[in-house]
């Protein structure tokens, strides 16, 4: 079996983002970038399946500017076999990303596509489901457990009410949640080895897809700030404030 795992380069989750004064977006210059956190879980699960012998090949793909290759190299360093970089300099909406991934799926013919459930920059939570719909494949979202069988995969999903177990036929799209596994760190020798692994480069423009964004970003602004609160000296004062000042008790 073969897995295509999609990774996205985003502002690191620990960075406090800053909104640009002109309302055009957020500052990205000299900001630490990392792999989108649930995409790390997607890579880890793919590599674990390969180590279990059920999967033969793991191909990592990222779409974006040249630096997206760093994100692919990281996936190669923890065990992916081959990278595909689809070069695109502008922001592409999940709809366009799903269309690109569909083209790559048709070429690479994986049995499963793994990706993170959501990117922590645009918080859309769409790409996996859109890709599944375009391929007419079943999907598993918010995945926290994977049990791969011969022609299907049994999945435990995190839903609002608790946990749900489903079984989907292969091929399928699996979007990964953060509790699926504990992503490993790449060792230095593996980082060095990853530099020699193959990396295919494709220009998004050459794929023959209309990638015009349909959603126009009019402005980006800071959310309203909370007024500074106070520190209370002890529990009695806290309860008194909640009762008499905030009137919530």
């Amino acid at each position: 079996m073969k897995i295509l795992v999609a990774v996205k380069r985003v502002i690191d989750y620990n960075v406090q983002i800053r909104v640009k004064e002109d309302g055009s977006g957020v500052h990205t210059d000299n900001v630490k970038m990392s792999t989108n956190p649930p995409d790390d879980n997607a890579v880890e699960e793919s590599v674990k399946l390969k180590e279990s012998g059920k999967v033969k090949e793991v191909v990592a793909i990222s779409i974006g500017e040249d630096k997206a290759q760093e994100t692919i190299r990281k996936a190669l360093a923890v065990g992916a076999d081959k990278g595909i970089h689809v070069k695109a300099d502008n922001y592409i909406e999940p709809l366009g990303i799903a269309k690109i991934l569909k083209k790559i799926v048709e070429k690479e013919k994986p049995d499963m596509v793994f990706l993170g459930k959501q990117a922590i920059d645009d918080d859309c939570n769409q790409t996996g489901q859109m890709l599944a719909a375009m391929l007419n494949w079943p999907q598993a979202t918010f995945t926290s457990k994977v049990n791969l069988k011969e022609k299907s995969v049994e999945i435990v999903r995190e839903i609002d009410e608790g946990l749900e177990t489903i079984e989907v036929n292969l091929p399928a799209v699996v979007s990964c949640d953060l509790r699926l596994n504990e992503p490993r760190f790449a060792s230095l020798p593996n980082i060095m080895k990853a530099k020699k692994k193959p990396m295919e480069q494709i220009n998004a423009k050459d794929l023959g897809i209309d990638l015009t964004n349909r959603i126009q970003q009019i402005k980006v602004e800071e959310p309203p700030k909370r007024k500074a609160g106070i520190k209370v000296a002890n529990v009695a004062e806290l309860v008194s404030k909640l009762k008499n000042e905030a009137k919530v008790l």
Binding site: D123, Q129, E158, E161, V168, P223, R226, V232, V248
Partner: protein, 317 residues
């Protein structure tokens, strides 16, 4: 300019967030039609028909929709969407699961998780875990929109009498199978809609110590929340998680105990009306959003807090 809203339910009862979604849909256009797809779900159609903001109920009854598998539900929504300009659902694990499939089938770029309707084509949505708000305009002919339920008030439940129209089921691909759902049963109010939420973090140090949190929650008739760190450490199950990747809550009172206040946690609770933080680290980021901060050892403060609450006689039930 009608709006098609997809109801969330368990085949016998409507899920409460659908009422919030109805309010949001009515701000896009007053002609709100609601699709109830399920198995033996007639009761749900009656519930929806009595919501005054709903103008029409579309009812599709088939075993294929019993567990709202997205592979089955999305083709029905896609077909029904032909006559509508907007397709709307809640941005929870229900709506997030099937709506992008509908959008892709219709070649629409979905607008996710909106918190405000500025006009029928312009919406405000949080990005970067709520650290920025983006105003976005959809240039698609039809629009697929998911709404953040806690940003809209629930619609009035009774007084309406919308017409119920039966519609035909469509073919399903038989590519997925529902096996089971393990719902966490609780006597406490639901996290998403509770008036008070008491949350614990890694500072609790163990699952047993969460009893300090649940004791207070029970006294206040509150829901129990948790930080991702506490869930990852196994102190409490995942459905209690508040944050960017968990639930977004907007209670009247949010009490964060032993939670440092990572960006992803703040994303899930900072719109709460009153925030209380109890933490022994006076520099913890949670204090920057707290109305009332108590720098204290939670293992001392929580029993004292419970004792003080027991002295009060005004707590609402």
């Amino acid at each position: 300019m009608s709006v098609l809203l997809i109801a969330e339910h368990d085949n016998s009862k409507l899920k409460p967030f659908t009422l919030n979604a109805i309010t949001a849909a009515s701000k896009i256009d007053s002609d709100v039609h609601v699709l109830v797809a399920g198995a033996n779900c007639e009761n749900v159609t009656k519930e929806v028909a009595s919501v005054p903001l709903v103008k029409k109920v579309l009812w599709c009854d088939s075993p294929n929709y019993q567990n709202y598998l997205p592979e089955n539900l999305a083709p029905l929504v896609t077909k029904t969407a032909e006559k509508y300009d907007h397709i709307v659902a809640s941005a929870n694990t229900f709506g997030k699961n099937f709506m992008p499939r509908v959008a892709a089938a219709l070649d629409i770029s979905q607008v996710s998780d909106i918190i405000k309707v500025s006009s029928p084509d312009t919406f405000i949505r949080p990005i970067y875990a709520g650290n920025a708000f983006a105003t976005v305009k959809s240039n698609d002919k039809k629009k697929c929109v998911t709404i953040r339920p806690t940003s809209f008030d629930p619609a009035e439940k009774t007084g309406g009498s919308a017409q119920v129209e039966k519609i035909e089921a469509v073919d399903v691909p038989n590519s997925s199978k529902f096996i089971k759902r393990e719902e966490t049963k609780s006597e406490r109010p639901e996290l998403g809609t509770a008036r008070i939420v008491v949350s614990g973090g890694r500072g609790l140090e163990s699952g047993e110590n969460f009893k300090l949190i649940t004791d207070i929650a029970d006294k206040l008739n509150a829901a129990v929340g948790a930080s991702r760190a506490a869930v990852d450490a196994g102190y409490i199950s995942n459905d209690h998680q508040v944050g960017q990747t968990g639930k977004v809550v907007v209670p009247d009172l949010y009490i964060a105990v032993g939670i440092s206040g990572a960006i992803q946690h703040l994303a899930g609770m900072k719109e709460s009306k009153i925030i209380v933080a109890i933490n022994k680290d006076g520099e913890a980021p949670i204090f920057s959003v707290a109305d009332y901060g108590l720098e204290a050892d939670l293992f001392k403060a929580l029993p004292e807090f419970l004792a003080e609450l027991n002295k009060l006689n005004t707590i609402q039930k």
